[in-house]
């Protein structure tokens, strides 16, 4: 009996305590939650909605409710934007550009160059290696505006262009890089930034390879290249897969540098899908903003993004979620 009488108040207190504990946790999460709500969830719903409207400069409003209900002018056009997108004369080219841009930047630079740098810098003096890797961070922290400023001068025509100055020194004819081969430079200037991501991941993976393993293969009389081929690369399988998936997604949606370099060029020559969405909806340079049509382009990427991010989370991180906290108060 004494047992029961003492348990009752304890139980009641337990409920209120549990509620307080939850409140504390949610209190810590609240600021992040609000930001996520306003800048991820609401926009995600909004962009789906915008993609079925014909919102443009001519019928501009920010009133979402009005867009949904107004009959005059009528905003909701359902699938028209998507029909138009599939019929767009430039769409196949933009799609092809996107594939080309993502694949070549990814393979040549984000993975290829990243791997080369990490292999080179882990096989030289430690401090020198660290110094070189730090230098590769520089383009990443340089403002895009300044970074593109430099590249524009590198590719400019004579007498200002730096490459053309080299051409002149070597007695080669002048070349019009900016208009002639913009892709080479778009891939390159993006790649020089992207390479550092792979570099960091691969470097830490290489450095975490047990020294015994390398020593064992040394004792077996392997050459440097054989060690890279048979010891290091096989152990980099997961980091490689990670860099490829992660960077594919980020390249697919990165357009800032192309926008600054040549806005996608004439006749969508260098336009990628994400830039196409931006140019149609938000680029003031093109005067007529078509938010509805641009949203249709963006929705494609939003869907790809959600799917790939989910897959990526499942493949790479799910195991880490299992660990439970080891304190149970408040």
């Amino acid at each position: 009996m004494a047992y029961a009488t003492q348990m009752a108040p304890a139980g009641a207190r337990s409920r209120s305590q549990a509620a307080r504990a939850r409140l504390t946790a949610y209190g810590f999460l609240a600021p992040a939650g609000v930001l996520v709500l306003f800048f991820f969830f609401i926009p995600m719903i909004l962009i789906l909605f915008l993609s079925i409207t014909n919102l443009a400069t001519t019928n501009f409003t920010t009133d979402v409710l009005k867009m949904a209900t107004s009959q005059d002018p009528r905003y909701i056009v359902w699938g028209d934007n998507f029909e138009r997108m599939f019929a767009d004369a430039y769409a196949p080219k933009i799609l092809f550009n996107t594939f080309f841009y993502v694949l070549s930047t990814l393979l040549l630079f984000n993975v290829g160059l990243g791997l080369i740098i990490s292999l080179l810098t882990t096989h030289i003096n430690r401090r020198a290696g660290f110094f070189f890797r730090a230098l590769w961070i520089l383009p990443r922290i340089t403002s895009p505006a300044v970074y593109i400023l430099m590249w524009k001068r590198i590719v400019a025509s004579s007498p200002f262009g730096i490459l053309n100055q080299f051409n002149e020194l070597l007695g080669r004819p002048e070349a019009n890089y900016f208009q002639g081969d913009p892709w080479v430079f778009i891939v390159m200037l993006n790649g020089f930034i992207g390479a550092s991501f792979g570099m960091i991941i691969f470097t830490s993976a290489i450095e975490s390879i047990p020294k015994d393993l390398l020593n064992a293969s040394l004792v077996d009389g392997s050459s440097l290249l054989q060690r890279v081929r048979h010891v290091i690369l096989p152990l980099l399988r997961w980091p490689l897969l990670f860099v490829i998936t992660y960077q594919t997604l980020s390249l697919l949606t990165s357009f800032e540098y192309i926008l600054l370099f040549n806005q996608g060029g004439a006749a969508s020559n260098n336009e990628v899908w994400s830039l196409a969405a931006y140019n149609r909806a938000l680029n003031t340079y093109f005067a007529n903003a078509q938010w509805g049509y641009g949203s249709a382009f963006a929705v494609v990427l939003v869907i790809i993004g959600v799917v790939m991010a989910t897959v990526y989370m499942r493949v790479f991180r799910f195991g880490e979620l299992v660990a439970e906290p080891k304190i149970e108060v408040l």
Binding site: L35, I47, S143
Partner: protein, 534 residues
């Protein structure tokens, strides 16, 4: 690494030495040439791309719309890289093959390398001749020779039956202009070099005191000068020999620097240009186009007073500073709180919150830019809040950027908290602290390096941000330095590149200082909290 490689060499030395002693010089040359030939296969590949694939692509109808074709550019780039570099790599490869021999008989190795280098060069040159690339490439020509005189360009020789002969030019004619434009020797050469095959150049010539316009067709001609051939041979021998004696430890350094050249020249230009009147390539020049022209004039923007339409640099700097600092503080505060809750607290929905953070971490937020435009517009309609966090406000811009960095920040912070021993926090709780106090007084001070790293990262990305400030601000009221710089490169007005370089350098200065002092933190943070992935 070098030392250990050396020991492994020592171990197998005896066997190798015997082999080398037994081998005849011819046999060794054969081995070296063979490894060079393997590399030359890439040259072959380049030639095929250049000669077969590229014309095919060029002549194919534009399936994907008009204009420049991606595949054409790509083919050309790869082909020229292969044909240019493969021969050099081959000479290097044939020298490198002999490094084992050089370890105990350097003189013999050098002799063999010279022989092998010559053989490989001969093979390469033959290949270049057959496929008409490199020094044997067809160049546009008028099939005549000429020299500069005081009056104009004097024709000194005509190839019989050549295009100049057919057009009716004679030795002794004086070329004074191309069409109507007067020309000199250099101009004429450049005109010919840039002309397409089968196009015509109208040469205005003076013959016997009379002027006459003679159209001459440009034809492809292979001119084989002795100089490039001999030069090529010497270069080949030099590379082969160098590859034998080259200290292997230096290779990674040289490669590293070579790879970085485009970056280095970019930053070099930025510095040179900001302190000079004008630049031609990397050379600072003065108004007359001669070397020199160093000036501090580009930095006058620092003292220029602002107007309402054209604010001073200090207004812009303040904008940038406010946005960057706001971003730093908010990212740190919000993500450390959320990271703490996810790392150390148990509550219903914890797993969902964690997976959400991860999905958002992978999700490309830029795809939402269009919709966020409308979110900010509507936030702007809310009284008071809208004045600080709406469209075209510094607060609004900062908030969007905070939100974009948040998934990364929360994930990183969770990782930092995960690494603090549980006993530390238990101890604080037993000492009588609340969870909030434990977070603030015990845990936060212990992840100071992490906070520093994330803070620096947030500040730098806020300081240099272009896309979001550009998208969500109008005019110059809320412009950041990056927006300011890019606005000044608009194609409608002439750009003062040198002043821009100075502004760019000014913008980079704080970032660069941070970079010098905090490289280590930055290197860690740009891995994006991916420790658990590998």
């Amino acid at each position: 690494m070098a030392a250990s490689a050396h020991t492994s060499q020592m171990r197998s030395l005896n066997v190798e030495e015997l082999e080398y002693q037994r081998a005849a010089t011819g046999e060794l040359v054969g081995q070296a040439v063979f490894s060079a030939l393997l590399v030359l296969l890439f040259f072959q590949l380049g030639v095929i791309l250049f000669k077969v694939l590229e014309p095919l692509i060029r002549s194919a109808p534009g399936v994907l719309g008009s204009g420049l074709k991606v595949e054409e550019t790509l083919t050309r780039a790869i082909a020229s890289a292969l044909t240019l570099l493969a021969p050099f790599a081959a000479y290097g490869a044939c020298g490198a093959r002999l490094r084992g021999l050089a370890a105990f008989d350097r003189r013999r190795a050098l002799r063999v390398a010279l022989l092998a280098g010559a053989v490989v060069y001969a093979i390469t040159a033959m290949g270049q001749w057959v496929f008409q690339v490199g020094p044997f490439a067809e160049k546009p020509s008028l099939e005549m020779s000429f020299e500069q005189t005081a009056d104009g360009v004097l024709i000194t020789g005509i190839v019989a039956g050549g295009t100049a002969d057919k057009a009716g030019l004679k030795v002794g004619d004086l070329i004074i202009a191309i069409g109507r434009a007067p020309t000199d020797l250099a101009g004429l050469k450049e005109k010919i070099a840039l002309s397409a095959f089968e196009s015509k150049i109208g040469l205005r010539i003076a013959r016997d005191g009379e002027e006459e316009l003679v159209p001459v067709e440009v034809v492809p001609v292979v001119e084989i000068g002795l100089a490039p051939l001999v030069g090529g041979l010497l270069l080949a021998l030099f590379i082969a020999v160098a590859a034998v004696v080259w200290p292997g430890g230096l290779t990674p350094y040289v490669l590293m620097i070579l790879i970085m050249v485009p970056l280095l020249i970019g930053y070099l230009w930025l510095v040179v240009a900001s302190f000079s009147y004008r630049t031609e390539g990397l050379l600072p020049v003065n108004a007359a186009g001669e070397f020199g022209g160093f000036t501090l004039g580009n930095w006058e923007f620092l003292t220029r007073a602002g107007t309402s339409s054209n604010p001073s640099i200090w207004t812009i700097t303040l904008n940038t500073l406010v946005i960057a600092s706001l971003m730093m503080v908010l990212v740190l505060l919000v993500s450390s709180m959320a990271g703490y809750a996810l790392s150390r607290m148990n509550f219903p929905g914890r797993r969902s919150f964690l997976s959400l953070t991860l999905i958002l971490h992978g999700f490309p937020a830029v795809t939402l830019l269009i919709a966020i435009f409308f979110v900010l517009r509507n936030v702007g309609k809310v009284p008071i809040v809208g004045d600080y966090f709406g469209f075209n406000t510094r607060g609004g811009i900062a908030l969007v950027m905070v939100a974009f960095e948040l998934p990364l920040g929360v994930w990183l912070m969770k990782g930092f908290f995960d690494n603090i021993p549980w006993d530390m926090e238990r101890s604080a709780l037993i000492d009588g602290a609340s969870r909030w106090r434990t977070f603030w007084q015990i845990l936060l001070p212990q992840i100071r390096p992490g906070i520093l790293a994330l803070g620096i990262f947030a500040f730098i990305s806020g300081w240099g941000a272009y896309l979001i400030p550009q998208t969500y601000s109008i005019g110059t009221k809320t412009a950041t330095l990056a927006v300011f710089i890019s606005q000044r490169t608009s194609e409608t007005a002439p750009t003062n590149w040198n002043e821009l370089a100075a502004i760019g350098l000014y913008q980079m200065l704080p970032v660069f200082i941070i970079f010098v002092f905090a490289q280590e933190y930055l290197l860690n943070i740009y891995a994006g909290g991916t420790k658990g992935s590998s």
